[in-house]
């Protein structure tokens, strides 16, 4: 059992309250998943030509961040470097250079085996860890996050260890995040196939395979919608999951409808949560609004309206191979 939630704001007036609202949406779901929690948040105004990396350590001890910075500066233009509790938020300026995420991950792993990239993207930042939603929010100051959309998760581990690395959301590319409630039954076969196609798995968590699968399908030129319909045929098990990209949020429920979700859609806001009671925390929740549950094998996709800043040409393609 886990809790998942998603939130999309269509009203720029509301962006400022995004962080606190998403956190209040997953907080009641702690009873479904008390061991760890996490969020993937999407900025309302990403800067063109910049990419933000969040770097974390697999070990609890202090990582040699000064060395890492020095090593990165040799080949990359770092616009900003900020330590936020246990992660380092690194903003790269890519106006005059190329950047390959998978090559960078490989080089980082080679140089500093205990370090990893928690998230990478123009709009997305992932914060996760063991403990309560309250602790996570306080640690990273997430209540002040101004954003357009995001997803969150409260975890009760069933398939792999309880640590920050194995908690949700998972990511497999720029601005692509996933939170999952359920189990993937054909995980080993799926992982074997995806690894043959070049995916590099970083954890033993079965949910990570879903993120890699979606990215792989997008790489094949499929739309998100096509990828998710294909997924229903290819991924076996019980799942209700949310996947977010720079401009979309999707909710997928397996053909057994084994895991719950409730959808609240009103002008200006879309909220999805594992349970109804979480939605009551939304500001201006309309108790008369008709709520909806996704049916078995249903794929729901919402588009996020891009802000004017976000419509600038991106220096990266999402699908940089």
């Amino acid at each position: 059992m886990c809790g998942i939630a998603g939130l999309i704001y269509y009203d720029p007036e509301q962006y400022k309250s995004f962080g606190s609202t998403l956190l209040s949406l997953i907080q009641p779901l702690e009873s479904r998943g008390p061991d760890s929690c996490g969020v993937a948040l999407y900025h309302d105004c990403p800067t063109p030509s910049q990419v933000r990396l969040l770097l974390g350590s697999l070990q609890n001890s202090d990582a040699p961040w000064q060395q890492v910075r020095h090593w990165m500066e040799q080949s990359l233009c770092i616009a900003n470097w900020q330590a936020i509790a246990q992660v380092q938020q690194v903003t790269l300026d890519l106006a005059h250079q190329n950047f390959d995420l998978s090559q960078f991950k490989q080089a980082l792993h080679h140089q500093f085996p205990a370090l990893h990239v928690v998230s990478a993207g123009q709009a997305m930042e992932i914060y996760k860890g063991i403990g309560s939603v309250e602790e996570l929010a306080a640690l990273y100051g997430l209540r002040d996050f101004s954003g357009t959309h995001g997803i969150g998760h409260t975890r009760m581990a069933t398939e792999s260890v309880v640590d920050t690395h194995h908690s949700h959301p998972f990511t497999s590319s720029y601005d692509l995040s996933l939170v999952h409630n359920g189990q993937v039954s054909n995980y080993y076969k799926l992982r074997f196939q995806l690894e043959r196609m070049g995916a590099v798995f970083e954890t033993q968590n079965d949910s990570e395979a879903i993120a890699h699968y979606i990215y792989y399908q997008l790489l094949q030129g499929k739309s998100l919608e096509e990828a998710l319909h294909q997924l229903l045929a290819d991924i076996d098990g019980t799942y209700t999951f949310l996947v977010a990209t720079r401009d979309k949020v999707a909710l997928v429920r397996d053909k057994y409808a084994a895991k719950p979700a409730v959808i609240y859609e009103q002008p200006g806001i879309v909220a999805i949560a594992s349970e109804y009671r979480a939605l009551l925390n939304l500001p201006q929740f309309d108790s008369t609004a008709k709520l909806r549950e996704p049916g078995a094998g249903e794929v729901n996709i919402w588009s996020v309206i891009p802000t004017p800043q976000a419509t600038y040409a991106s220096p990266l393609s999402l699908l940089t191979p």
Partner: protein, 257 residues
């Protein structure tokens, strides 16, 4: 664990001496507000109120909480002003619930007798394994409605989701709307009436014609909700009983062809 003494409930039941209306029907006692109470306290308060002989009680602010009015043995009318969470009214005998909102998974699970009315939608597993009584959902019900139903009646005025009536063993389901895929998969006994479209039937389920007695029963059951059975093209789904016994394959016969 908090022990909730019945004595604490004097404030909740203090209006029990209020004069009854002229028609003699008992009045509602002071409503029970869930705010600030644990689930255990709410359920114990309901038991205590029932013990005073009240005919009905209104429960305020259920806020989608799980396990409300579970394991009760009272026919006192409990009216929930709002949506409830999982297992509402489960494991109850003589239940009499009126939910003025939606309900989460497994409403009335293992109900023994009584009636539960859900005025909104029900989530998955409505009336799961219910042995007796009646569960009426005036909106839609989600996946696996009436799963393993063991004798109760489940009435849904809207649609039901996929996998409904899975392994149903006894009882009756009446659905005015559509039924999702795999209806009545591996059903043993019982009957399901569907007024709308059936996405697909599960293993060993079959459609059979309605009798005159069936139509009269539908009229009676739906009449309570001002629904005319004749307005719907009801189909009756029962067990085909082809899986009751092991059937050996006759390979000799197959090879002969």
């Amino acid at each position: 664990m908090t022990d909730f003494a019945v004595a604490d409930l004097t404030t909740l039941t203090s209006t029990s001496s209020t004069p009854t209306p002229s028609d003699g029907s008992p009045v509602d006692c002071q409503p029970l507000d869930c705010n600030g109470l644990t689930t255990r306290e709410i359920n114990q308060a309901l038991k205590a109120i029932a013990a005073t002989g009240q005919a009905s009680v209104t429960v305020l602010n259920p806020t989608g909480r799980h396990n409300l009015a579970v394991g009760l043995e009272t026919s006192m009318l409990i009216r929930f002003e709002g949506s409830v969470g999982y297992y509402c009214g489960g494991l109850s005998d003589h239940a009499n619930l009126d939910i003025q909102g939606n309900c989460g998974w497994s409403v009335g699970e293992n109900l023994m007798s009584g009636q539960i009315i859900v005025r909104g939608d029900a989530s998955a597993n409505a009336a799961a394994t219910a042995r007796g009584g009646k569960i009426c959902v005036l909106g839609n019900a989600g996946a696996r409605a009436g799963i393993s139903l063991k004798g109760a009646t489940l009435i849904v005025l809207g649609n039901i989701g996929a996998g409904s009536a899975f392994m149903m063993q006894q009882g009756r389901m009446i659905v005015c709307g559509d039924a999702g895929a795999n209806l009545a998969d591996s059903i043993y006994e019982g009957e399901i009436f569907v007024g709308g479209a059936i996405a697909s039937l599960g293993a060993d389920a079959q459609v059979e014609p309605l009798t005159e007695a069936d139509w009269q029963m539908l009229d009676r059951e739906l009449g309570d909700w001002n629904v005319k059975a004749q307005d719907y093209a009801f189909k009756k789904v029962v067990c085909a009983k082809q899986l009751y016994n092991f059937k050996p394959r006759d390979f000799a016969q197959e090879n002969a062809i």
